[in-house]
């Protein structure tokens, strides 16, 4: 069994008076892909966002319980959120390139972290784009606008941008849901490669994608963690009837 990278203990989250997550306790191992599945509104994206405190940006959110990343509670007052988000990067459903060149997009994070040396930045940009398997496609047009890339390329560039600040954990919120099958396949291959060095947590509505890319799968329903286990077990012989009904499409 691999080391535990993220551990949540009785994590409960309220949007105002509404409880969105109910006492979630979960161990996410390092350098594996963990997928969150469940119907819309089940809390999976909310839970994902608690892992790098993205919910702090939403008004009226109240969190109780603990989220430990490398054994440190990220909800402690002393925690520097900027450093936390550097360590726990995030890729969103819709790619969100800045209206800048490809180079500047990827160099953005290192720059705000104080790296201004041109050759160092060039090295980081090249390495990050290579890790995101997009270097060959963009190496001759690094100064072109990132907005001119295709949707799939934009998403991989955004992954490169996340990698540029050297995170240890990458959170992905439906990273391929707006992409065509070929771009989706590239993102999935990329996830396979990335898990050698990073801990990946992915939210997906695509059941087959969860089955293909993840080592572990967690099924959420109405803010509760219903079942969490090895993906190969969940998709062949789930323990809970509810999980079975959801993954076989007999839900509700």
């Amino acid at each position: 069994m691999k080391e535990i990278k993220i551990r949540t203990k009785d994590l409960t989250l309220y949007y105002g008076a509404k409880m969105a997550l109910n006492s979630i306790t979960m161990d996410i191992p390092e350098k594996e892909v963990t997928a969150f599945i469940g119907p819309s509104g089940c809390g999976k994206s909310t839970f994902l966002r608690t892992l790098n405190r993205m919910n702090d940006l939403i008004p009226n959110v109240r969190v109780t319980g603990e989220v430990l990343v490398d054994s440190l509670n990220i909800y402690d007052k002393q925690i520097d959120v900027v450093n936390l988000r550097k360590k726990v990067g995030m890729v969103f459903q819709k790619s969100n390139p800045f209206a800048k060149s490809i180079f500047e997009n990827v160099a953005y994070g290192p720059r705000i972290n104080g790296i201004n040396n041109k050759s160092k930045l060039e090295e980081i940009v090249e390495t990050s784009l290579k890790k995101a398997f997009i270097w060959e496609e963009v190496k001759d047009r690094l100064n072109d606008s990132a907005m001119g890339l295709s949707g799939g390329q934009q998403q991989r560039m955004c992954i490169a941008r996340t990698l540029a600040v050297e995170p240890e954990i990458i959170l992905m919120d439906e990273p391929a849901s707006a992409l065509d099958p070929i771009s989706t396949a590239k993102i999935e291959e990329l996830i396979f490669e990335l898990k050698k060095n990073y801990t990946i947590v992915i939210v997906t509505h695509n059941m087959q994608q969860a089955a293909r890319v993840s080592d572990l799968t967690a099924f959420f329903y109405l803010g509760e963690l219903i079942e969490f286990g090895k993906t190969k077990k969940i998709f062949t012989t789930p323990d809970k009837k509810h999980t079975e009904e959801y993954i076989t499409g007999r839900f509700g």
Partner: protein, 245 residues
């Protein structure tokens, strides 16, 4: 979408049951024909085999379509995987009925040997095991699976004892050698009927409970489980044993 998928699974289940029922009739008629040395009924079994073959292809194609178009998981995945296997096992049971039917003419001149050597008892046991397993396929009640294993062990033991007696007869009465050889071949088919029946029972357990019990000698189905029924399907996995008449 969901409704359509449910209909496909329902169709698959219906076809499997139809296959089970058709194959049971084939085995039943073949064994009836054997005990009565009824050449006409034996020929009917041989002629009906093409129906089994056609249904076999239909079920395979349906499984292929469901796999390709719906990417089944969990219980649906287990059902379709097992449907493919059970369909194959049922089709083989149909072949065994044909094999038996083809040898009946060769023993008709000395049919008293059937009762003398208790082949009739063995035929009834084989008939019952197929009937029972087809019944479990219908009800999916896995509590009766261990009875299939017990019956298969009993059939295997009985085949061995009857075979020994046939060999004995052959040594003492040269005039029965041809008949006895045909009878030995029929006994082999009956032994395999038990083996394929246990295969099907194992698949049903996999569908219902998600447990793979094949090759697990420790499955609790009586004292003789270690050398009993579960050894039979393994030995039958070789192509030559299946093609052998």
């Amino acid at each position: 979408m969901e409704r359509h998928f449910e209909l496909e699974l329902e169709k698959l289940n219906k076809r499997l049951l139809k296959m089970g029922s058709l194959v049971y009739d084939q085995v039943h008629n073949a064994l009836d024909a054997l005990l009565a040395c009824n050449i006409e009924l034996a020929q009917q079994v041989i002629d009906t085999d093409n129906k089994v073959d056609k249904l076999d292809v239909k079920i395979d194609k349906l499984c292929q379509r469901i796999f390709a178009l719906t990417q089944p998981v969990a219980t649906d995945l287990r059902l379709i995987m097992s449907a493919l296997k059970m369909n194959n096992d049922l089709e083989r049971l149909g072949d065994l009925a044909v094999n038996i039917s083809e040898k009946i003419e060769g023993i008709s001149e000395y049919k008293e040997i059937l009762t003398e050597l208790h082949v009739d008892e063995l035929a009834n046991m084989a008939d019952l095991i197929v009937k029972d397993v087809v019944n479990i396929l219908h009800t999916r009640n896995t509590t009766f699976v261990k009875d299939i294993f017990t019956s298969a062990s009993a059939i295997e033991e009985k085949v061995q004892s009857v075979s020994a007696r046939i060999l004995d007869e052959m040594m003492h009465k040269t005039e029965v050698i041809v008949v006895a050889t045909n009878l030995m071949i029929i006994l082999t088919q009956i032994d395999r009927i038990a083996g394929y029946s246990t295969n099907i029972a194992e698949s049903i357990v996999f569908i219902v409970e998600g447990r793979m019990i094949k090759h697990k000698k420790a499955f609790s189905h009586g004292e003789n489980s270690d050398n009993g029924s579960e050894a039979a399907p393994e030995s039958e996995a070789t192509p030559e044993s299946n093609d052998n008449p």
